[in-house]
């Protein structure tokens, strides 16, 4: 028994000592003002740039990644690590503002923010731009195999209901994306809260079920690369990744309109290095840096100055850099509140249950 107690005592002391030293170390890091905690999506920044940022400013970046806005929110809410810069999607920015998790940005400390395309940022509600700067943007659209289904041009969402596509469509596992697609196909807004319209959209979706091969998550990328299905409803960023691996695929956004999404940079309230955070955001907004980063990540950048430095082939690609006319038809997701989100998910679940 004595050994038992002493064992516990020893491990407790060791634990406490480690905890205290770890805390001391962390503090000394932060007090120097030379460590920055960055929380971003996986594979979403050129790692070379972190190195470069350190050389320029002497600030060491501690880089952590998440794979969904929801997972990120859970971790930020717990408040374990005080992150300095986070990269949530626009609807999550809205939620973080409501939950008072982030601070309004002082644009005088972000001179490079002038590089951001006004056309695009003006589409974001002011309250969102006050708290965040767009990082990359994109749409939801149709990825299709050009060699197999060339006669279907997918200029309208309704093409998805075509009988020839039986068991050929993969979809992303998101209630907003899938119901929004159905709402768009009826010419409705993808932020509809009218229950009757939602129900009609859900009924229309159920008619689509014979064509659905599966509803999957990020696996969709590797599945489409391997030609598992001929058509997929995906985000443009994912489509770009797939098209780089698989030449047969092409991407289009139907004319009725679709979703316009952003991933943005925000500074959380509990940041301990706000100075460094501003420096980091401003660094990423620099035209040359942003051009290098866009090259590496491969998503569409809202940074006009950076875009001018890129190849014409990239710049003029209207599939990923939509022209004004098309931009008009695009809509951002608004935070509809938990009850409405529940309703969307309930209808989405019904759709899933109609598959077989």
């Amino acid at each position: 028994m004595k050994t038992f107690i002493s064992l516990i005592a020893v491990s407790l002391t060791a634990g406490i000592i480690l905890l205290v030293t770890a805390n001391l170390l962390e503090q000394s890091d932060n007090n120097d003002g030379n460590t920055l905690y960055v929380y971003n999506w996986g594979e979403y920044i050129d790692p070379g740039l972190l190195e470069k940022f350190y050389e320029e400013t002497g600030i060491r970046v501690v880089y952590e990644t998440f794979d969904s806005n929801e997972a990120m929110m859970v971790k930020v809410n717990q408040g374990g690590t005080p992150y300095d810069v986070i990269f949530p999607s626009e609807y999550t920015v809205e939620k973080m503002i409501k939950d008072q998790l982030i601070i309004p940005l002082d644009y005088s400390r972000l001179p490079n923010a002038k590089n951001i395309d006004n056309d695009i940022s003006s589409r974001m509600p002011e309250e969102i731009t006050a708290y965040s700067v767009p990082y990359f943007f994109g749409t939801v659209g149709i990825l299709y195999n050009e060699e197999i289904v060339p006669e279907l041009k997918f200029s309208t969402w309704n093409t998805l209901w075509d009988e020839s596509l039986e068991n050929e469509i993969l979809m992303v596992d998101g209630a907003r994306e899938v119901l929004g697609m159905s709402l768009n196909s009826m010419g409705e807004s993808l932020n509809t809260t009218d229950d009757e319209k939602l129900q009609t959209a859900a009924d229309k979706l159920i008619q689509l079920s014979p064509n659905i091969r599966g509803i999957v998550g990020d696996e969709i990328a590797s599945m489409m690369t391997e030609n598992e299905a001929q058509v997929a409803v995906v985000w443009s960023g994912m489509a770009q990744d797939i098209m780089r691996e698989n030449d047969e695929m092409n991407y289009t956004v139907p004319k009725e309109g679709s979703n316009l999404w952003f991933d943005a940079m925000v500074i959380p309230k509990n940041s301990e290095n706000t100075d460094g955070a501003y420096q980091f955001i401003n660094f990423l907004l620099d035209s040359e840096i942003a051009a290098v980063n866009t090259e590496w990540v491969g998503y569409a950048t809202p940074n006009t100055a950076a875009l001018e430095l890129m190849d014409e082939e990239v710049r003029k690609d209207t599939r990923f850099y939509p022209e004004d006319e098309q931009l008009e038809s695009l809509e951002m997701y608004r935070d509809l509140g938990p009850e409405m989100i529940s309703r969307y998910n309930e209808l989405f679940l019904q759709f899933k249950m109609s598959l077989d």
Binding site: L170, D173, G214, M223, E226, E228, P338
Partner: protein, 266 residues
């Protein structure tokens, strides 16, 4: 002193078993804004979730039956080999690999251009639509759960005294009679444990349903994940959780009662 030793275990049970269960039961009576309500239960009985429960049960049943059908003969075969430990180790080895990793591997195997269709094409027997089918779901689940069924069944079969089998043969029983009248009744406890270990987790499978069937199979596990992560409706998620636990209890009652009997015999 003896009692003192039980204290850590008691604390553990209190913190990690009893409190979470009570919390979950409590949450199941709360709505979005934290008001006390019975709506979650009303919603559970209003259609969708009942259908989901039935389908969860059906698939869990199929998975358990097929796992048993594969594991029982295998356990018998392992008993007869001279190097049991080695064979057991080989069968259990896959459980050392991460579950997700194994599931991803099956995507590659079952895909349109996957291994199975590659071989089928080479043999000229045409392409199969395996991925996203019920069959694929059952095969992958059986593969994953097989070791958990095999171990208790094997232990029960291995415990049977060889003399009993020899005596049965001496007294004129045929091989099939030995199997059905001696081995099977004596291994029933192992089968019960195996059924519990397989049936209960397969009720709430969720990752495999998305990866292998593309959400064409929807179980209660999927619904719980969605309620907690996407809807952030902890109340509804907890309600489904409560029902899942109730169902597991029922399964335990039907397959349980075994440990008591054993103690009595000893």
């Amino acid at each position: 002193m003896r009692r003192l030793l039980a204290v850590p275990y008691f604390i553990w049970m209190l913190v990690f078993v009893i409190t979470p269960l009570l919390l979950m039961a409590g949450y199941s009576f709360l709505d979005f804004s934290g008001n006390i309500t019975l709506n979650n239960y009303a919603e559970f009985f209003s259609g969708n979730y009942i259908k989901m429960t039935v389908s969860s049960f059906w698939y869990a049943f199929l998975i358990t039956i097929f796992t048993l059908l594969v594991s029982y003969p295998l356990a018998l075969a392992v008993r007869m080999t001279s190097n049991k430990t080695m064979w057991l180790l080989i069968i259990i080895l896959p459980t050392w690999i991460n579950l997700l990793l194994k599931t991803y591997a099956f995507i590659g195997i079952f895909g349109r251009n996957g291994v199975v269709n590659g071989i089928a094409g080479w043999l000229n027997i045409g392409g199969f639509q395996l991925l996203f089918s019920d069959a694929a779901f059952i095969i992958v689940s059986v593969y994953i759960f097989m070791p958990f069924m095999l171990l208790p069944v094997f232990n029960a079969i291995d415990d049977i005294d060889n003399n009993l089998l020899n005596a049965a043969r001496d007294l004129g029983a045929s091989r099939t009679e030995v199997l059905f009248k001696v081995i099977m009744p004596l291994s029933v406890e192992g089968v019960k444990t195996g059924v519990q270990v397989v049936f209960i987790p397969s009720l709430s499978l969720f990752m495999i349903t998305r990866l292998i069937t593309g959400n064409k199979v929807i179980t209660l596990g999927t619904a719980i994940e969605q309620q907690f992560l996407t809807n952030e409706n902890w109340g509804m998620g907890s309600t489904i959780g409560v029902f899942l636990i109730l169902m597991m209890l029922i399964v335990m009652i039907f397959t349980g009662g075994s440990s008591k009997k054993r103690v009595n015999k000893i």
